[in-house]
Structure formats: C-alpha cells, structure tokens
Subunit: 491 residues, 2 copies
C-alpha cells in the first residue's frame, strides 16, 4: 500500500484515521467536533439503516419524528436524566440575526432572545414522553412502538470520527407498555435485534449483558448492551437497550386506565444505535491494506476492472466485462464496472482494495480468449483464475464465504483475547500487555468499580447474561463475589 | 362522517387541520412552530423518500451528510444569500447548562459561550461549499452529485402543519460541475425528476417554469419550480431547482484545473423538496370524508375488515379474510387485516375511510358462503361485490385505476381553475371569485410584480417553459409584454 499509510502495529489510532480519510468515509468539518460523512461512508450507514429498519418493522415498530429542540425545563423533570444529559449541550438562545450596525457582517439580534432556551436534543426521552401524554388514555392505546431516525448533539470535548462526534446520526426507539413484564420483554427483544444485526450484517460477535449502575443510562432502571472487541484490544459499546421503568411516565405524567379500570403509569423502554457502528465496522475487520467490509454492508460488493493496452483490446475487454457485470447484477450483486480510461488498472486495484470492496474481478485480453476472469477476495487477498461460466453463482457464493469468514475471524480474535484474571496483578498485567476482555470477580460495589477505573481505565463492559454463577473474590477488594463480570478499556 | 369535522366549503383551513389531526398525521409539539410527525404521517413521508431517493440514485446521485451547525460568518460570504437566510434562524450561543446556584432547575452556563455563534442550518449551501473546496482540484473530480436528507430550521412566525413549520425535513441536492451548460442541464434534469414524482406518485399535475427575480432563491442565478394547485384555488410550490452559477464557488473559493489547464470556478446547482409535500398531498386529493391517498404513497393500500355476530362467525370470516390478505400480499399489495375484536366494523369503516386507505374490503358470513367480498374504493366511494377468485389481480388493477383517477381528477380541477385575464378587473375578480391559476401579461418589472402582490396577495408562481410567446399588454401597468406568466395566491 501507499507508504504514508500507517499499519495497526505502528500506530493504531493513525491507522484508523487514515482509513476513514483515505477510503473517503468522513472528514472533519468547519464546525468543531462535527464531521462530514462522505458519500462512501454514508452509503455504509444507509445499508445499516435499511437492515435495522426492516428488523424494527418486522418486530412491529413504526417510525415517527419529534422536534430537534427540547425546552430547557424538560430536562429537570427526571432527576437522574438531568445529571446525565443536561450538561454538555448545544443551547439555542436567540432566533434572529441582524446586520451589524457597524457594517461588519451579521450579529445576533439581542431583541430576539427566547423566553426559554431550547436545547438541541442529546436524546429524546423528554420531548417524546411529553408527547406520549396526549397519546395514551387507555390500555387500548398501548403499546406504543415508535422509532426515530435523527441527528443528536452532545458537546463532547474530545471527538473522533464516527466514534465520538458532537453531532451524530442514530435511531432511538421509545416504547410505552401496559406492564413491567412487557416493557422488560421489549428491552430484551431489541437487544436481540441489535446482536443479530451485529453478528449477521456487521460480522462482529458481541457479548450481551447488563450494565452496572455506574454505566447505566441516566434515567434507566436497567441498561442492556452489546459489547464488541476491536483489534487493539479495546471494547466498543455497539448498542444499548434501556428498561426505564415508570420514571419518564411519572416525570411527564403519562397514565392510562388499565384493564382493571385503574389509573396507572405507563412502563417504558428506549434503545439506540448510532453512526458509531461505522467506526466499529472499520476497526473490527480492516487490515494494513485498508478498509475491509462485510459483503452485506458493502456499498459495492464486486468491482470489475478491465486490463488492456490499446483501444482494440479496450473494446473487446470492456464488452466481456459488461457481460460479466450484467450476470452479477442478475444475481442481485451490487457491482461496479470501472471502465474509466483516466486511471490505470494498478491505481484502481489499490483504490478498491483500500475501499474494502469484497470481491475484485480483473479481465484482460487473454482472459477473454480463455473464458476466464481473475478473482481476488478482499478478506484474505487470495487470488484465483476462474471460468466465466456460472460466474454469478461463483461470486454469490464467494461473498457469502467472505461474510462468514469475517465473522469467524473476528470471533476467533475475541476468543484469543478474552482472559480470566483472578488476582489484581494478573488483571493489570493483562490490561497492559494485551488488552482484551477480562473476566474477573467484582464485589458489586460502585466504589470498587470506580477505583478500578481510576487506576487502570478499565470499566465493567457488562454483566453477562449467561448464568454461570461462580463463587470467588473480587479482583480488587478481595471481598466475596458470586459471578465474574467483563472488564475492558473501552472506546 | 363525524359531526365535528369541517367540510371544505365550511372552513377550508379547519378542514385541513382536522384531517392532519384526526388521520393521525401530525400534531403540534411543546416547541413553538415545531410539529411531531406521527407514525401514519411519517409513513407517507417515508414512501415519498423511498421513491425520490431511487430517482436521485438512478440519475447518478449519492447521499452524504453535512453538519447541522453553520458558523455565523459563513452566511456573510455570499451577498444575496445572507439577505435571504441569515435572519430568522435558530442561533446556538452556548454549549453547556449548569445547576442553578439558587437550586431552581438548570440554567445556561455563561462560561460556556461560543466564540462564534452557530446557526442551525436553514439550508446548507454555505457549509457544503466550504467542504467542496477540499474535494475539487481537477476536472476529474467533477461532477459532484450529492444529496442530503436532513432537518432544517427557519424561524417562521406563522406556522402550519407540514406547509410551514420552524423545523422541517427535506432533501437538498448540491452539485458541482465543470461547465455552465452541464450545471444548467442538471437543474432541468432534477426539475423533471420532481415533476415526474409529483405526477406519477403524488398524482398531482404540476406547472413547470422559472421564477421571477423577486421569487428567486437567495444566491441563485435562476430558480426553476414546480407549482401545484390546491382545492381552495391557491397555488403551492412543490419543489425548486436552482442554477447557482459560480456564486457559491466564488464565495467559498472552489476552483478546479480545467481540461485546458486553466484554474476556473466551479458551477453549481441546488434543489430540494420537503415535508411540505405531505401537506400538498393532503390538500390535493382529500374530500369531506377525510384523507384520500394515491395508492403509490399510501402506507396501507388495502384494508380488510371482517363482519361477524358471534365467535363462530368470527372464526370462519377471519380465516377467509386471512386467505384474501395472503393473496393480496402475494401481489405486492400493502394490506392490513384489522381483525381486532375491540372495535366494531362501523368504527373501522369510518377510521380507514378517514385515513384515506385506497381500497377497503369487507367480508361477512354470507360472503364466505358466496365466495365474494365487498370492495369500496376510497376515491369515489363506489361499492361493488366481487368474486374472490382472482381478488389479487382485481385489487391490483383497482389500485392502478385509483392512482390514474386521482391524477385525472386533479388535472381536470386545475384545467377548470386556470383562467386567462386580460384586464385588471378580470384579474382581480377571478382572484376574488375563484382563485386558481391566472395567465396574464406582465411587463417584466419587479416593481409591477410587487405592486400586484401588495394589492391582491397574488404572486408570479412561474414563467412557464412552454414557448407560447404572445404579444400583449401588462395586466397591471398596460406596458407591452411578450408572454403570459402564471399568477396565483399561494401557500
């Protein structure tokens, strides 16, 4: 690859940024902490959206849209929520600009000050629960199963493309239920949607579990999550699903008449994934040759590149390339025939390799004669020359292989980077040597969790669902513990 | 219909609001001028998005995403643009809230004042052209054909559901080209996409033309538009496509090396349609029985309602209803079988009629015996009892008929509400009696246009593309004119 591109070994952080930039996924904007998502990066997000949106609809959810702005006072309604979200926000205070009286551009018109400031939504529980009050009278109005695709803003001080930006795109589901059981069931159902999506589309294995109190969503009774492991041994929270109990219903006075004729508060959930998943996708699979994309989320699944030396060859080769392209399209493969004569084949090879296109086909005059095509798969960079008979089936099957292989590779990486630590020395040396997931006993106190975080930067990623109770002693305090939890340093 | 629902005749404005509210399309939110788009309304917008997005992609465009925030100073760069857009904006001045020292909720943290205020995008030309500067070096980097689906904010004083809200959803295309001709070609190409969409999906005939200078987009060299006629005789601008010349390229210094090796400014277009189209859709087709939707944009194309008196009948009827539902789904029809036993058939009939579902099927015990089903089409409310043999084909064909009929009805309405005025008296009496489109001569001056607007509230909707030049005299000033233009009062 190009010399000025970092390897993971040399500089993991620069490697990531180089991929984001040079594969044309995103770039910094003129606004601090906000990125521009470029067409190729956005196309990946669109594929994620399409797959998730279908899964949400298949499980009975509908989309809706709620205001970008939230009246400041709404944040004070739910006591925990205000602590978590009302701090680093973008605040709208005025609604007009005017010409500078001194003739120097435009200035804020101080006469146009809002009576109550508006906060750009960092998450929409408050405005949505204020709305649901009007929607719910009786149990017949429940459940409400609504999702929103939207932009949100959290004024982060340290930002990083896709992983942490001031403005980001996400979906946020907000559901309302008759009973506690039904709401908890929804929380788990969505967590399974997220883990299915991560594993089947993103080809990333995830741990499922619940968060400790420290790491819980502000306003939730319980937060469930999926956690993925990146190639540098750091964890990445890839999705959360919250059981909100009756907290928001009480804060916004959302009651319904139950089947028994009683007036009760509604039970709630909320859940979300964001453009941070694009960051996870990049970091999970890519290599020192650039981006690697799982076929199910690749904007281009197969690229065809003609090889030729003169106009005559160009014509013959392009004709065959077009036939192959039509064949692949018939099989439902997203194919790009790059027949531009402004760029050389070698340049194109590098370009599509760097952009992570799963399958590259190259065809030259000899291939035309022999009825063959050269096939390179991006995951292993393995090369084969195959017959063009049944090329559609061949590539379909290869794409499926690549999808599976990426998952297996990521799973194997996670397995070999999941460790058991029984002593504090083991715990810290694993963290410093390799990172990864560490299964360790914890005494269950927020205090210990906080101290571990301060001393090592490792946090409890989740308390896994598997029911393997095991007596032990807290890796930090030595106090008794009934189960291991998962620690890691995280994005 | 329900008694408290206004007819068009009684109160057109209330009729519109009643439909929006009672069909569950949208409602006012706690934030002034911002609406909540409810699931049924949002489902219509999603169908619009899907159709348009495919048309954009089929014409070579990709989606991307640019920041919500625009640095205030960007607006001053393009002289005309600042006049048009830098006034009624939402302005972010701070990035943090804190607990009120007096213990009364939360307040803006005055220490967290932004050095430069950020404006919530009212449209994104400025931030996008600031970005394009990095994307373009050579003619090889052109054209850039990018679209964005986004929310925008314009602090409107008088708002109306879908038609004019402070925050709205839209798409904005922003393209960059080597030559003036190519950019103009793009402007027309997109206008044709918009008019095709309006006519083929929304079933609304539109006039195509260019705007007068007064009505032009702030920063454009030329604005093309499509104009539709609503049932109250007012026009509605349904989409605009702007040729921006080199204005934004010059303001943001976007240059490229041409094929001739010269450094030149890039040529630009921008174009957009918004959730206002949902308002147009409602007003174009609906009647005194509620919403009427063209099948191609209906979230539910056909509803099936079982009729029964007891549990035994319920079982038999629902079984047949399910068979019919499966049949329709096989034909690709979006069908809803409403077999809820909590609501009576009469209630359901009203509900789906009001929600504009194009085809209603009702099936009772006698229908099961006879192998029939009752079919009601929403556009004419015509009723038929038909055989269930081939019901899939029957409904498919009926949906197609309804789509065509709605278009023809809207076209016929427009034709009978398009008038020619040759004198000022004719002009004003048409406006006061009937409204509609008025074809009249205009002397071509902004001054006359402004006076006509002040005296009658009518504006020039467009200067139509058809090349029917005709000598005449301005309906207002009596000065010579070479062609008629289209006047109307407008939303």
């Amino acid at each position: 690859m190009a010399k000025d591109f970092s390897t993971r070994e040399e500089n993991y952080s620069k490697w990531y940024n180089d991929i984001v930039q040079r594969a044309g996924l995103a770039e910094a904007s003129a606004v601090r902490g906000c990125m521009v998502i470029k067409p190729y990066g956005y196309a990946i997000w669109e594929k994620m959206q399409a797959a998730l949106d279908k899964m949400f609809k298949d499980t009975g959810h509908s989309n809706a849209y709620f205001p970008l702005f939230i009246p400041k006072s709404f944040f004070s309604r739910e006591a925990d929520h205000v602590k978590g979200f009302a701090k680093e926000c973008a605040v709208v205070t005025h609604y007009r600009l005017k010409n500078d009286p001194d003739g120097k551009g435009i200035v804020v018109d101080e006469d146009a000050k809002l009576e109550e400031e508006l906060v750009i939504r960092p998450t929409s529980e408050t405005i949505i629960w204020d709305t649901y009050r009007q929607w719910v009278q009786s149990y017949r109005d429940l459940p409400i199963l609504v999702n929103q695709w939207a932009n949100v803003v959290r004024w982060e001080m340290r930002t990083r493309m896709f992983l942490r930006t001031a403005e980001f795109l996400w979906q946020e589901g907000h559901t309302a239920h008759e009973t506690k059981e039904e709401a908890i069931g929804e929380t788990y159902k969505i967590l399974n949607v997220y883990s299915d999506f991560a594993e089947k589309f993103m080809a990333i294995p995830v741990l499922k579990g619940s968060k400790s109190e420290n790491e819980r969503f502000a306003g939730a009774v319980e937060t469930l999550c999926i956690e993925a492991l990146m190639q540098d041994g750091k964890a990445l929270q890839a999705g959360t699903s919250h059981f909100l109990g009756q907290n928001f219903a009480k804060a916004f006075d959302v009651k319904f008449t139950s089947r028994e004729g009683k007036l009760e508060h509604v039970w709630a959930t909320s859940w979300g994934v964001s453009t941070r998943l694009v960051g996870a996708l990049i970091m999970a699979h890519s290599d020192d040759h650039g981006l690697v994309l799982p076929p199910k989320l690749a904007p281009i699944q197969s690229v065809i590149i003609p090889i030729y030396r003169n106009d005559e060859q160009y014509a013959i080769v392009c004709q065959r390339a077009k036939e192959i392209s039509d064949n692949l399209e018939k099989e439902g493969i997203i194919v790009k025939l790059d027949d531009r004569d402004t760029h050389k084949p070698g340049w194109k090879f590098n370009e599509y390799e760097f952009k992570g296109v799963p399958v590259r086909l190259a065809i030259g005059p000899r291939d035309v004669e022999n009825g063959t095509v050269e096939v390179v798969r991006r995951d292993t960079l393995g090369k084969e020359v195959v017959s063009i008979d049944n090329i559609g089936n061949y590539v379909t099957s290869l794409l499926s292989d690549i999808q599976d292989n990426l998952y297996k590779r990521a799973l194997s990486f996670r397995e070999s980077n999941t460790f058991v630590a029984d002593t504090w020395e083991e715990f810290t040396s694993i963290l410093d040597d390799k990172g990864g997931f560490i299964l360790a006993h914890w005494d269950g106190t927020a205090e210990t969790e906080q101290k571990i975080k301060e001393e090592t930067k490792a946090t409890i990623r989740c308390i896994p669902f598997d029911d393997n109770k095991e007596q032990g002693r807290c890796v930090y305090s030595g106090k008794p513990s009934e189960r291991r939890v998962v620690f890691a340093r995280a994005y």
